[in-house]
């Protein structure tokens, strides 16, 4: 039995032990590498850093936009008739080339998953900024408008590719994962509507933002938004609006011009660039060149190269053949060489191009042609033909029919925009020419192949997402 005289000291000691076990001991400050979200949006500088963060991630981690092995540029390029694999049995790119992508298990399935999931990761970042801005009451009016405009653009830009590659996709506009986790697909029309809403809002929010923040062209100003808006009007066959918005961009002659030297086009801060993604690293990353430059070095073990049929459409006098197409003579294949640097260290010369002025001319040319303004269209087209050292339509075929001119514009788009952001694939789809063009060269083509499959692991985790037809 406890001796009574011990009880008092024991109780004292126990009491002491209990008092020193307290909440304070296990309370921690945030670590050196984290910044609590609330505080991010209490300060103009960090709020803008969150926007810059998205631009950076478009290069660092976002597979769909970084120009590498799971990017729109490579995969959608494979699906069209621009690229082909060197090996007929390539397991990653082959299925994209033959439009036989599996939803699960195979190397091509993981490429498809990376494309899909990285796009939604960027959408999350945009949504997170939009929510942070609306919950904050300590930011200046200027930061609030600019950051919102830029975040809305990023979201619209990302949905543009999702809806074009996959068709109906879930439209996620919040960061609330408990709801989003079971979100079903929304109709493509609804997604398009949201894209338009976001872009229109962004244009008005960025009313004042005509300049880039620095010499670089890596942040969003109103012309970047307009350029994408023009493209989307073109896709929606709203020719009038497409012409109107592309004109607004083209008219900014003090900012943008068609560079005559083809080797200058893809350099950083190129005056033809409307929006570029910067590969400039800090700390944790080493690469100091674009991924397109690295991927298309034209080495012997290259797996993705330009298709010979495509290269054959570029006439020998076309300067783009000499300047933008490389040739590996030991293994006899062509490869894109718009970016020349794929291995330098510490000396960044090129940025990854997303939107450039040449596309705006092509948009306007097509919009004008569709509206019957053939001379206007020809003049826009000749702007690019002139630079490529091709005969001008105005000289050779001044009386060209509308149909033929549109055909010329399409061919010009292919030659000008090849190996950039899957333009050819999206063009074939919007013009409903996929079957006509691709069926002859892709024996396994089916009409349902115009959309990629929803990744199976996505469907395994979200029972409400339907698989696309044909998979």
């Amino acid at each position: 039995m406890l001796n009574k005289r011990y009880i008092k000291p024991i109780i004292l000691c126990l009491g002491y032990l209990l008092t020193i076990s307290c909440e304070d001991f296990v309370d921690l400050e945030p670590p050196n590498y984290k910044m609590v979200t609330e505080t991010v949006f209490e300060n103009d500088e960090t709020a803008m850093a969150a926007i810059t963060g998205i631009y950076n991630e478009l290069f660092s981690s976002a597979s769909f936009s970084n120009g590498y092995i799971s990017s729109v540029t490579i995969l959608a390029g494979m699906s069209s008739d621009i690229f082909e694999t060197t090996s007929a049995t390539d397991t990653r790119y082959g299925p994209f080339q033959q439009n036989q992508i599996s939803p699960r298990g195979t190397p091509d399935a993981s490429a498809n998953y990376e494309l899909w999931s990285s796009a939604y990761n960027i959408i999350y970042m945009a949504n997170s900024v939009l929510e942070g801005l609306s919950n904050s009451d300590q930011l200046s009016e200027e930061t609030l408008t600019i950051a919102e405009g830029q975040a809305r653009f990023i979201r619209a830009f990302t949905y543009f590719y999702l809806v074009n590659l996959y068709g109906d996709v879930p439209l996620v506009l919040t960061t609330d994962y408990s709801k989003n986790a079971v979100a079903p697909k929304d109709s493509a029309a609804k997604v398009h509507e949201q894209i338009s809403t976001d872009l229109d809002l962004a244009i008005s929010l960025l009313e004042e933002v005509e300049e880039y923040e620095s010499l670089e062209r890596t942040n969003i100003n109103r012309f970047v938004v307009m350029a994408l808006r023009a493209r989307i009007y073109l896709y929606q066959q709203n020719w009038e609006k497409a012409e109107e918005w592309s004109s607004k961009v083209i008219d900014q002659a003090s900012i943008y011009e068609i560079l005559q030297d083809l080797d200058q086009v893809f350099l950083k801060n190129s005056r033809e660039a409307i929006w570029q993604i910067s590969p400039v690293p800090v700390g944790r990353r080493q690469t100091t060149y674009t991924r397109e430059g690295y991927f298309f070095r034209g080495i012997n073990s290259s797996r993705v190269v330009l298709s010979n049929d495509f290269v054959a459409t570029i006439s020998p006098e076309d300067k783009r053949l000499a300047h933008w197409v490389g040739y590996n003579s030991s293994r006899e294949f062509y490869f894109p060489q718009k970016y020349k640097d794929g291995s330098s260290s510490g000396n960044i010369t090129e940025y990854s191009m997303v939107l450039r002025l040449a596309e705006q001319y092509l948009i306007r040319a097509e919009a004008r042609a569709m509206q019957g303004n053939l001379p206007g269209a020809i003049s826009d087209l000749d702007k690019l033909r002139n630079r490529a050292n091709l005969e001008l339509i105005a000289n050779t075929l001044p009386g060209i029919s509308q149909e033929d001119l549109l055909e010329e514009i399409m061919e010009e788009r292919t030659r000008e925009l090849f190996s950039e952001w899957g333009h050819r694939w999206l063009d074939l789809k919007r013009l409903q020419k996929t079957a006509e063009v691709l069926k002859p060269i892709k024996p396994l083509w089916q009409d349902t192949d115009i959309f990629y499959p929803i990744p199976e692991e996505e469907r395994a985790k979200n029972p409400n997402i339907e698989q696309n037809e044909g998979y």
Partner: protein
């Protein structure tokens, strides 16, 4: 100040100590003061003859040595177990026999003295078991604690100490998935409790200092599972490893005890002994224990050519360089080339121990070196040193202990991007040579292939991973009053691992070398933790029993730093790694994480009449890993034991039962094994300038995982404990599951941290049987068998259909399942694998994956046999595992990659169309990948492995004495000598994956005592 301390003074002192010092748990048996029995001093008398019979539970024992203590006079018992000896009244007789306890009996004037000898097997019951904060005799245990001692593990030529537990303990699953030395084994105590793989680490405690049990990653890809945080320990310095399994044993560790606790106790010196030196050396050879049967060049080419034919495709140089450009007659056994080397193993260990009446010490050091089986001259080294000091004051009240263990290890595995192992299993047999005639690397034929010349890594991708580990602890205990002791105890651990790799640009083929750079990578991982644990212990007699009490507090802080730096653009290879000479230096990771932990705990144990035991433990825990308001929780357990063999009715009615105990326990433990700061909604810096971004989804409301453990055990000893059997049944229900809840990526990320209402149940039976089969004067044969039959089940998961787990788990099934397609065989028309499209919607997706197959272990265990003859001892341990797995995935048959010989057999000679047509078409690919997700490749992967075989011989003591040695023994040790299995894959411990199997080693050594 030498004045006697009054208790007030002591209390003040204690409070002071609480702040600075802490007590070691293994002092928990109280210094009692010596108990001297009074005995009458007997008068001197003339010698007379004494006689008697010596027996054991089997009857008379011949050959027992009977000696008058302190003299050389003695005799042996005869055939009938009788002895006769001339003695005097005050003499003491010592009875001894190999394998039995010696008995000393005073004669006290008797003329006959019959003696019953006790087998040493019974000794198990008397062993003091380390229960963490206290120790307890094995027979009095109320909880489930398994134990192995130095003798069973110290000779094994392995690096990670826990590997030594393989096959030795019931309920403890140790799997070394990767045979590269230092690689972290997977340790599961009573199954997987958490749905997260990384939420299942047991708590590791070395002499009271907790060691972060997560493996260290970030180094060479060869360590796919990370490096074992215990790799720097000296195996020979370990006295015992105790594994705490049930609630009663683990609840005192509260939130950290859910996955069990591994207590490692190191050796200490001896009081009242002259200085002893023990030196031990062994050396030997090792090789991978298994290789796969793969194709010959001829077979490979046959498959490839048929595939081309089947596809109606003309071969071209891009797709078929193996047919057109590579030599058609060349054959390389890539397994032999890439991991078929012989590892040379050497180990030297020396320790000195001794002391005087109040102070003892043990000082030791070791060196271990083993070569790697990869090509090149790389190896793994380990150097350790340890000191242990103990002091007890003259009055036996103050006890101080200091121990420090320091270990350095270095692993020079190549920094290959890939694993040599998976490369060796996929390279075609006619792949090009590695080197040219002049010794330079061969590139030409590799350049256009999808593979890199693997030898480039050996030459131009060097790395080393150096670990430094200091574990120090200081303990102090003071007996305040007769029944109360204050202990305070402080521990410190600092583990650093520095990985350095240099990549010469010569690793690239000449074609792309231009524009490449020499580069380097360094990782500095630094784990510091300190712990302070003040405690009061109370012990008193109470009625017919004893009451033990313990109350204490824990303060712990872990600081985890990680720094990864790369350098690019070194001028020459000689300067690689000198970051000052790099063109650009990049900080890849610079995280500093802190974890703080705080608890109060208590234990009350009562033992009535050495027959009834009850044990109550409790803990209140606070952890910094949870959001505010979620940080504190309570854990507790109750355990009881009844030694029914002590009851008269058992003694009378069941005399063949020499020991019988029934025990049971129930309690709640927890787990906070979740990343630090996970509850914080935060942004981090991007890899580009001036940007920040959200890196995860956050949920501030998650809290502890709970594990409710129930256990009952029956322990029986028969025939004077010649046979002992322990059988346990346990049921652990782990709920409030903390998971990285998988989310579809439309949420922005693939998971979020959350508590799930799901309950995972682990039940199981554990059996441990020890028998003394033969025991004669010189020969003994003992057998130890352990068997574990685990069952794991997802008990409940409300609304699983609505969650992202819907297609991963099934209620009522184990966690380790695969949902697979139904395999329908090879389609006779297409010749391709066909799986069942259950809902006939033309797609193969999760709706068709209706076959539930359980992977992993059905039962496992170990069988040890020990034979001793005079000084010779032979032990061998068979490990057996009954398990299922999927076959290792090979590439699409027909594609330019290696296949197994088994595939070739079935393809060429198979009667029943068991494999699909070789083809590289998309249809073939789809069919094959669907088959990979079907039951087609599900198979039995059970094995029986001779884990260890050891033979030792103690040289006779007498001649050794003459040359000044106290002892000398020779030993031979073999590990993983052979494995019986039907599973055709490289690494049976990691079925389905291409990792280095455990080495088969043979070592020979000598041990000398001075």
């Amino acid at each position: 100040m030498k004045n006697n301390l009054e208790y007030r003074g002591i209390i003040r002192l204690c409070l002071l100590y609480i702040c600075f010092l802490v007590p070691p748990p293994y002092f928990a048996h109280f210094p009692h003061g010596h108990c001297f029995k009074d005995f009458t001093i007997l008068e001197y008398q003339q010698p007379y003859q004494i006689s008697g019979t010596v027996t054991d539970s089997y009857g008379p024992m011949p050959g027992v040595h009977v000696l008058i203590k302190g003299t050389n006079t003695g005799t042996f018992t005869d055939k009938e177990g009788e002895y006769f000896l001339l003695v005097s009244n005050k003499d003491i007789l010592v009875f001894s026999y190999l394998g039995y306890h010696s008995r000393e009996l005073p004669i006290l004037g008797r003329t006959t003295l019959d003696v019953q000898m006790q087998s040493e097997v019974t000794e198990l019951q008397e062993v003091e078991v380390n229960a963490g904060y206290y120790t307890v005799k094995e027979r009095e245990l109320t909880g489930s604690i398994s134990r192995v001692t130095a003798k069973e593990i110290e000779l094994q030529p392995i690096v990670s100490p826990l590997e030594a537990l393989q096959g030795r303990m019931a309920g403890v699953e140790v799997v070394q998935q990767n045979g590269v030395p230092g690689s972290a084994p997977i340790v599961r105590i009573r199954g997987q409790n958490s749905l997260r793989r990384e939420g299942n680490y047991p708590l590791y405690i070395i002499d009271g200092v907790p060691i972060i049990s997560a493996p260290i990653s970030g180094g060479s890809n060869m360590y796919s599972d990370g490096i074992d945080p215990l790799s720097t320990l000296n195996l020979s310095n370990i006295k015992s490893i105790e594994v705490l399994k049930d609630a009663d044993a683990t609840a005192i560790y509260g939130s950290r005890g859910a996955n069990g606790v591994v207590l490692i106790t190191t050796k200490k010196g001896n009081y009242r002994r002259k200085t002893e030196i023990e030196a031990r050396w062994y050396s030997g050879l090792g090789q991978v224990s298994n290789k796969e049967d793969l194709l010959s060049t001829e077979q490979y080419l046959a498959i490839r050519k048929t595939a081309l034919q089947n596809d109606g495709r003309q071969s071209d140089e891009f797709s078929d360089y193996d047919l057109l450009l590579w030599n058609q007659h060349r054959y390389t056994d890539w397994q032999e080339v890439l991991f078929g080397g012989t590892s040379q193993i050497m180990d030297f260990n020396v320790a000195a121990s001794g002391g005087n009446g109040t102070t003892s010490f043990r000082l030791g050091g070791s060196y271990h070196n083993e070569g790697l089986v990869f090509p090149g001259d790389n190896s793994y080294h380990k150097v350790t040193a340890g000191l242990n000091l103990d002091h007890i004051s003259e009055n036996n009240k103050l006890h101080m202990n200091f121990s420090a263990k320091y270990g350095i290890d270095q692993s020079d595995v190549p920094a290959y991007d890939n694993s040599f192992v998976s490369t060796a299993l996929t390279l075609p047999p006619n792949a090009p040579k590695l080197k040219n005639e002049d010794g330079s690397l061969h590139w030409e034929e590799w350049e256009y292939s999808q593979w890199d010349n693997p030898y480039a890594a050996i030459l131009y991708r060097n790395s080393s991973d150096v670990g430094h580990n200091l574990i120090a602890n200081l303990g102090l205990s003071y007996q305040l009053f007769h029944s109360m002791t204050f202990k305070t105890y402080m521990g410190y651990n600092n583990l650093t691992r520095d990985y350095k790799a240099s990549f010469s640009k010569d690793q690239y083929s000449p074609e792309i070398r231009e524009g490449q750079n020499h580069s380097s990578r360094k990782r500095h991982a630094d784990r510091k933790s300190w712990i302070i644990e003040p405690q009061f212990l109370y012990r008193t007699k109470m009625g017919k029993g004893t009451l033990d009490g313990l109350i204490g507090a824990t303060f712990q802080q872990n600081d985890n730093k990680n720094l990864i730096v790369t350098g690019e653009g070194f001028v020459s290879t000689a300067l690689i790694g000198d970051l000052a000479a790099a063109q650009s230096v990049n900080i890849i990771n610079n995280e500093i994480k802190r974890y703080k932990y705080n608890a109060v705990f208590a234990r009350f144990g009562y033992n009535h009449d050495q027959r009834y035991f009850i044990n109550l433990t409790g803990r209140r825990d606070g952890s910094s890993r949870f959001g505010p308001n979620k940080r504190f929780a309570n854990f507790w357990a109750i355990g009881g034991a009844w030694i029914f063999s002590g009851e008269n009715f058992v003694k009378q009615n069941l005399p063949f039962i020499s020991f019988g105990k029934f025990r049971g326990s129930y309690g709640i433990t927890g787990s906070d094994q979740i990343g630090d700061y996970g509850y914080m909604d935060a942004y981090e810096a991007t890899a580009g300038p001036n940007g920040i971004y959200p890196t995860q989804l956050t949920n501030p409301n998650y809290s502890w995982e709970e594990n409710k453990k129930l256990e009952t055990t029956l322990e029986l000893g028969f025939l004077n404990d010649r046979i002992t059997l322990g059988s346990s049944w346990y049921r652990n229900r782990s709920s409030n599951q903390l998971v990285g809840y998988p989310l579809p990526s439309i949420t922005g990320f693939s998971s979020v941290q959350a508590n799930l209402p799901a309950t995972v149940q682990n039940t199981g039976w554990e059996f441990e049987l020890a028998t003394m089969n033969i025991r004669s004067k010189n020969f003994r044969w003992q057998t130890f068998l352990n068997l574990t039959i685990p069952k794991n089940k997802l008990l409940s998961f409300p609304d699983i259909e609505q969650t992202s787990y819907a297609n991963i788990y099934r209620i009522g099934h184990p966690l380790n399942i695969r949902l697979l397609y139904e395999y329908e065989g090879v389609d006779p028309e297409t010749g391709l694998y066909r799986v069942n499209d259950v809902n006939e919607d033309g797609q193969y997706d999760f709706n068709d994956a209706i076959v539930v197959k359980k992977l992993g272990r059905e039962y496992f265990g170990g069988l040890t046999n020990k034979f001793s003859y005079k000084g010779m001892e032979l032990r061998f341990l068979w490990e057996f595992v009954k398990q299922s797995a999927l076959e290792r995935e090979t590439s699409l048959p027909g594609y330019k990659a290696m296949q197994t010989a088994q595939f070739f057999q079935e393809w060429q000679y198979g009667q029943n169309n068991n494999v699909q047509t070789v083809s590289e078409s998309f249809d073939a690919g789809t069919a094959y990948y669907n088959a990979l997700f079907s039951e087609r490749f599900f198979t039995d992967a059970s094995f029986l492995r001779l884990r260890t075989l050891s033979l030792s011989y103690d040289l006779p003591a007498k001649p050794l004495k003459n040359i000044g040695l106290n002892g000398c023994s020779l030993f031979l040790q073999a590990q993983n000598l052979f494995t019986l299995t039907n599973y055709n894959s490289l690494n049976i411990e990691n079925p389905g994956n291409a990792t280095l199997p455990a080495l088969k080693t043979l070592t020979l050594g000598v041990k000398i005592n001075l």
